[in-house]
Homo-oligomer: 423 residues x 2
Amino acid sequence: MKIYCANIVYTPTPDSFQLIEHGYVAVSDEGYVEEVGKTLPSKYTSAQVLDYGDKLLIPSFFDMHVHAPQYRNMSLAMDEPLLPWLEKYTFPEESKYADSTYAERMYRRFVHALWLQGTTRCSVFGTIHLESTKLLADLFSEAGMGAYIGLVGMNRNCPDSLRNTEEEAVEDTISLATYLEQNPMVHAIVTPRFVPTCTPQLMRRLGQIAQEKKLPVQSHLSENQGEIAWVKELEPHVSCYGAAYDQYGLFGQTPTLMAHCCYTEGVEQELVKKNDVIVVHCPTSNVNLSSGIAPIRRFLDAGIRVMLGSDVSGGHHLSMSRVMQYAIQVSKLRHLYSQGKEHFLSLSEAFYLATKSGGSFFGKVGSFEQGYAFDALLIDDSSLDGQDYDLIHRIERYIYLGDDRHIEKRYCQGKELKEPCLK
Amino acid sequence: MKIYCANIVYTPTPDSFQLIEHGYVAVSDEGYVEEVGKTLPSKYTSAQVLDYGDKLLIPSFFDMHVHAPQYRNMSLAMDEPLLPWLEKYTFPEESKYADSTYAERMYRRFVHALWLQGTTRCSVFGTIHLESTKLLADLFSEAGMGAYIGLVGMNRNCPDSLRNTEEEAVEDTISLATYLEQNPMVHAIVTPRFVPTCTPQLMRRLGQIAQEKKLPVQSHLSENQGEIAWVKELEPHVSCYGAAYDQYGLFGQTPTLMAHCCYTEGVEQELVKKNDVIVVHCPTSNVNLSSGIAPIRRFLDAGIRVMLGSDVSGGHHLSMSRVMQYAIQVSKLRHLYSQGKEHFLSLSEAFYLATKSGGSFFGKVGSFEQGYAFDALLIDDSSLDGQDYDLIHRIERYIYLGDDRHIEKRYCQGKELKEPCLK
């Protein structure tokens, strides 16, 4: 048992922060929150107490859509339109991951960068390369961090160097799942890149694997208009882009993350809701690639689950604080363009999406309520000149103004995360 | 004479970067660029050579709209709409600057923060308080940085604690101008806050001062729809918001900075162009306050001069790199909503706006062309994992991914800027 004393900030619900000035969180040896409160009960007096004084203790962040092999392309060639950007920068970089020496060097940096930014668990696209993808999983394990790792399936409309056959994609997805079967923190996730790069046969077989092995699914949905038109050509008989996944058992039959959803509405929104598909909102990527602004308020009002993703390297930065900022800021533009009808995201809503909502993909994670895994960040905001502000403004200023320098400690499942080795 | 050797990056024109791999800039003892090039001519062999190897040497940044007394409110209460935000947070904070002890403490932090972010010159709103505003000017002088400093005029529609009389505003503006008359780097700028807070009499007299003393002018223009409607009520006889300034000699009669201009079009755009008024684009503020997206491409196509501003604390951060990012990103949304008709800002355009365009308000500043004042930043991007990228991508990754940690040295008018004293 360990007791952490600090200013406690978390979001049991999206609509407001739970704030406990100079409170405590009691964490079991297994890494779960036993109790959170203001005054330490006497039963804990024999426990180890770590008093962090006036610092902030918050849940850590969960990045639910990120491409690990695009780490080195982060913030690169942002002026290019989507297709040249993919062809000239993204695909050539991903091809390098056939070489597992290169993969190890870069994936170590990727995991280190996530750690630095306070992301303790995430859902990741790897590449088509099994060895590199297993290595990525190993590095998350080594770091003590949680992850869903995707072996990418793509067997059409892509360069030869990044194309796997249907058979390879299926076998390697199964191999990865088997490899990670006993891993407590790192799991496999079925990952068809997106409809245009996957034949119907491949999608059908990936859907079967997901259901047989009870594996979750991640992919891209309705990111931009050109892509939607392309899917309509490829799958002319279905009612919407999402239905193209649905027919193959890749749309909520097991827990499913769909990134972007900028243009999801009508029948597609109904299908998302009906199948309890999770929308992963990637606002930095959506502005960088001129994709649009996803209608997050509408999704939330409809009771659709929403999480946040950095979508590096469509997104330019791994910081989930920045993703929160952009989620709020682009929602303010939707607010404006809807003549105020569509209310913008509040700070607590954005925080909830990045913590408790994202964390829920891993079980009871992302909050300090009883029974939750203790995934947390200790924030020292003393250099931000805000000590006499109230807690809610201190957390706001950390999110908008702070950076990795203000994260003093990172915890995942109750364990403090050491700085991952870069080799 | 000093010779700086490094990778040289600057923008003589907006449409592309001038890139000199392992080049040099020769700077005279007075702080002006004598020559820039690839191979050091023999005539310079006796000069002091500072070889910065593979680092980047770029012009420093110019923040052309920022409220110094809102420093401590940076990133605060971003969920509040404009009016409560002003009433509950901004005005109470500005009122504190009646106390020059408080002002000194905070203004030191403000100047330090600008230095940290690589902004070497700026145009600043102070408050109505003469002593504090003179102190702010002194701190810029002490730091060796350049600035235009505005004593704010506001004599209606504001709290009593922030209201000066017409007489006070006029006298204090003149006092500040006299105080700074001989200062080589820090100057006065006539600063009516905006039309709603200034009576016609005050604006007329401020316009007279500007023209008699040849002082530039700064204010706010067409930031949001509510404000525009309010100005229409207050000044029903003029053709547009800008004309309300124009009739009093505050709209280009001397060099004039108008912040925001989100809704400037038609007759107002023509007047801006005709009077050579400068638009200061504040994209972070415009999203945070749900103001809108200024039509920068349209302004540039019309030959209107545009500069960039952080507009702290409507903007949440002083980093001009971030302001550049947002300038590009919001222009991508306009690009999207115009069905591609309005092309988004390129990286070199955004860089030009933050360097050579902003710098031009101070004379020949913001470029490395011959005769320009040497205002520069030495960037060490070695921690960004991009050494084998070409220069254009290294500068892009510094702008999107880097921060103050990557700025190794700062120069203003040829002098290296020491870290300003925080006391």
